[in-house]
Symmetry: C2
Amino acid sequence: MKGNWYIVEENFNPQQKHVHETLFTIGNGYLGTRGSLEEGYPGQQSATFVQGVFDDAPVVHTELVNFPDWTSLEIILAGEQFELTRGELIFFKRSLNMRKGLLSRRVRWRSPAGKTVEFLFERFASMADPHLLLLQLSVKPLDFSGEIEVRAGLNTCAENLGLLHWEWLGQAVESRSAWLHLSTRSTRIEAGLAARMSARGGKNLHQEGWDVRGHPTLVLKCRVESGDTVVIEKAVSVITSLQTDHPHMAAWERIRDLEIPSWETCLKAHKDAWSKKWQKCDVIIEGDDEAQRALRFNLYHLLIAAPRNDKRVSIGAKTLSGFGYRGHVFWDTEIFMLPFFIYTQPEVARDLLSYRCHTLDGARRKAQTNGYRGAQFAWESAATGDEVTPIWLPDLNNPYTLVRIWTGDIEIHLSADIAFALWNYWQATGDDAFILSCGLEVVLETARFWASRAEWKEINKRYEFNNVIGPDEYHDHVNNNAYTNYMARWNLRIASDMLQWVSSNHPEKAAEIMAKLRINHREVEQWQKIADQIYLPFDPQSGLIEQFEGYFQLKPVDLLQYAGRKESMQAILGISGVNETQVIKQPDVLMLLCLFPDLFDQRILEANYDYYTSRTDHTHGSSLGPAIQTIMACRAGNIAEAYEHFTRAARVDLENLRGNSEHGIHGASAGGLWQAVVFGFAGLKVRAGKWEVHPALPDHWQRLAFRFHWQGNQQTIDIRRHGSGYEVQMS
Amino acid sequence: MKGNWYIVEENFNPQQKHVHETLFTIGNGYLGTRGSLEEGYPGQQSATFVQGVFDDAPVVHTELVNFPDWTSLEIILAGEQFELTRGELIFFKRSLNMRKGLLSRRVRWRSPAGKTVEFLFERFASMADPHLLLLQLSVKPLDFSGEIEVRAGLNTCAENLGLLHWEWLGQAVESRSAWLHLSTRSTRIEAGLAARMSARGGKNLHQEGWDVRGHPTLVLKCRVESGDTVVIEKAVSVITSLQTDHPHMAAWERIRDLEIPSWETCLKAHKDAWSKKWQKCDVIIEGDDEAQRALRFNLYHLLIAAPRNDKRVSIGAKTLSGFGYRGHVFWDTEIFMLPFFIYTQPEVARDLLSYRCHTLDGARRKAQTNGYRGAQFAWESAATGDEVTPIWLPDLNNPYTLVRIWTGDIEIHLSADIAFALWNYWQATGDDAFILSCGLEVVLETARFWASRAEWKEINKRYEFNNVIGPDEYHDHVNNNAYTNYMARWNLRIASDMLQWVSSNHPEKAAEIMAKLRINHREVEQWQKIADQIYLPFDPQSGLIEQFEGYFQLKPVDLLQYAGRKESMQAILGISGVNETQVIKQPDVLMLLCLFPDLFDQRILEANYDYYTSRTDHTHGSSLGPAIQTIMACRAGNIAEAYEHFTRAARVDLENLRGNSEHGIHGASAGGLWQAVVFGFAGLKVRAGKWEVHPALPDHWQRLAFRFHWQGNQQTIDIRRHGSGYEVQMS
């Protein structure tokens, strides 16, 4: 069904403008541009973020810098300015074509003086040329003839919620085009922007450039007769010094070399590139249009956020679609988003993992600062890999107190998550070269971190990890978090295994890396010894894994009594209040079972699923939870519950379920949604170098089909309902 | 000597640009504009601050908002842009005429292509019409003829060190003029700015306006022959919604109604207004040109910072000349700057004191929040009188720690300082009406605060004020600070005295205010009782007043051993380190003796002067110290030492002695300098409703003359050296 490729806004709702700016973000992996209105609207948050362009900021350390709004157009119709705050809005329809990565908006508007006009705005960020941004405006006066004036500026005064990051370096303006040369204030990254305007269909065309310092502006005027249409094109190029020297010249040349008009040609290349993307990763769901559209929406946002051929950047928790978390990168990437890329675009997955190699020195600095060895990856990471988690945030309720943010200090599982992701990529792709050139070093250095972080407890004759935060952030400063301890053990063992594999298969490489990192066999033996003696809390009788030491003794809370609540249990009980209860923000033990399906048998899985599911704040806890919960419900055999969790993940942004979509797309939930479908409903399982599927679809799903990469080959899985079972075609 | 009216910069030094921006600030009490360059310079901090226009800001709560730079001019000479970063600077001289409040700059510059041109930039903020700002540019090509293009914009993107406070509301642009309508983001104060450009002397004059949203720009082009001069005038008006509704219309009308050219007429009115100002307050020093010029420089900065007919605003610690302390008002105004105004322009002093009446409710809120009665004035005060001292500031050395700023909590002497200032004004002016309408209420409410803040110590049978900070901020959380305790006692007693005076002279007014404030006689008796029993630390034998309990036991430090240091003793010893020593940031006990010359006899004065002088960080402690130290040295009979301290105050900004003049003028030091001359060297003493002078001039001073107001009459004092003594003319 064609409609499943579209996200549509039928009526303009200014109250929802920030959420819609997020949903209607376009991008191409190099940059993302929020769906703000070209003509402006009071209070709107226009933003364009470019991968890797960070600048210093108070409290949050560093943030992705908002670029000058390349979409802005002022439109004057026979002397009257087009603004949605005035006149009469007769028709409004905004539509995101996810198949083509094209955003369009049809508006019929009557001016205060009574002139009626029809607009069609279309824009895309070229998927074929990441530095090319195109915008086309069709203007059709319905009941008047007169002059149409369009002003298109590049305004240096782009802000990050009130904060300025740009310094003006230079500009040039001609009658039809202009360039702007900027630099970030602290990190001294230069940006070049160039714009060109042209028109087809009007009469008495006049163009001029206004050379206003910091705000070069192109002006186009022409006469249009009633019923005729003039089509105005604004082409913009954006490049930074992370790609080239003299980025303003590079942007300028790109614009200069475009044919006029460039729309059709560029759009064709763009659509072809999108088509190739979707061929690799589209998932077909029949029998559930909402799920189909929502899944594509989430994949669309992953596709426009994923870096292109750039090993220095990753995907922030809120992608490139909002100011939330300031573009910082979390475990969200490796554990939630990465599997989608590993199995559909392994080359992108490799780049994402390369970011952790690129920032390995930052992780080494963090380990050293904290008194450990090896590499401790930053809980929040940006350009350098140094820790950029805010240390203190103001308490919204009481300005005299500040809230200490502990995740940057003690949420340590991330280092093992990254090792896990590297290994996962390797298993799926067989990309030995990457492991040898980069992945192995990360795994060894994280193992070394774990070995130095482990504490030997003589009284218990075991290694422990104390004073940590697990995935469930409702509880901090806990001891022996099961997820953390298991992952640490796994990291230590896999490092030893991988080193053995390299020694056997590439002995010269093994010698080289051991020399470089000064690793000897005694150290590796020590890793194995520690791994064997790490405390793993498990009660064989009940089959329950205790989330951390003492969790079972915490106050139980009947979450059903809080049904219908509109805020998180943390907001209701307070930070320290919730800490004292068994309520958890997201599945923590279940997360572990999700990553290692063969670690425990079905009895244990079900026992833990039942126990922890009733204790989880599914609706207002972590947005990372529902997708994982879907997979675990599938494995526990409860498809109805699985679908409920799936819906919660699918709608998180489309229905702004958590009330914070204005800050950007929930990237981890988007990646988790793909996993929920593929690892959950389709039951894709990878084991001992082989894969298999065990489908269990929601009742109303007739078909589920997807492609995935395995060891360099593309596989197709097509699951159709057949009687009470399934027919599965694989090719 | 005419030169004593000028501050001159002979060579352009980009390293010193921020300091010179402060020194060359112009203003008229309504607004201040830093001396940045019209054509711009990389990194320069242009700023225009308007009295009372505050907006919310992180950490510092609220700050004066930087207005669009009304001075900006882009100048293009036959296609080449004038910029000091390029070409050859042949001549540069910037000069501030303090008598006329006129800033001018002569530049001779050769462009990269070899064109030589002479510029004269002149600007003033009209002292006759506070909403009128004028700028005149003369351009004289010396060796070429061609087109001169000048662009004058009003850019909404005015920032407070990276932070944006403005929201764009609207604008209009015509060929010769434009207006801009803005609003602050949080406080919703609207600003209107209008600009007009005109030229005399060129040929083929062409003018147009560029209607760039947020940055309306006027463009003027004309042809000038080699050796001819074109004079371009930019007139700007600035008004806010604190003065009028629709401020953009008001600004627009003001510009529209000006004659063309307006320079000469407006300058004449401006000079006349300045002339009247100086007639009231100029101080003549003969025999010391540096002192003469420096004193005028400091008075100039007080004159351009003092509010005009606005009872809702005061003077910030850094006047309107920089971002330092964000426009917040401290005791600096009442204790250091106010005497200058009381004795030269009592109507300004009255407005300054009215600010405390206007913000009395804020002080009441602060008292109530802290559990006290009456009015506790904010240590840092802005638009409402609520406390705006930052609570935490980041520790520059370690981002994991924040420094808790305690002054807003426990530096409480300010409430008595304000009462003292009110009484001082009353004594000098006899302005009963003001005391009845406003001053009395403040004195009563602060007395009430003191009564509720005092702690009865049964063991010592006395009232104490514990956990405070005195004027010397090197020591915090001290008990029974002598200055605070004396001032509190004085405040309690004067409240009772004033109430008695009102009861005798205006019984209906006394009844009215007692009813309004619900004060009864028992409460007043309680004030007297508390005042009588407040602990006042004084050792009759040595004559020493202990700065606070335990001060005498602190570690002594020989400051001579630190001679030549370039930083404060607090920076050298650390915040807690200096706390443990006897080193003080500024005279604290001496401050008390300075305010109450008759409290102790000469023996005690000299004992305390000797004791505390050797323990004070005169060079790098508080900039408030040297002026007071001058007065006390005079009283102790040590004129040589007095002159040394005087010089330190006189040069603080002119020679950037403390390395922070870029943040703005040291307003308290400026006010203190006037006191140092008048109360110090001239020895003006007010006692029992009469005044007298006891001159003791520095050796090389031949003459010291000044005017002052006393009980509604202007007095002239003219002191000339005569043999080994002085001839004093009074009229």
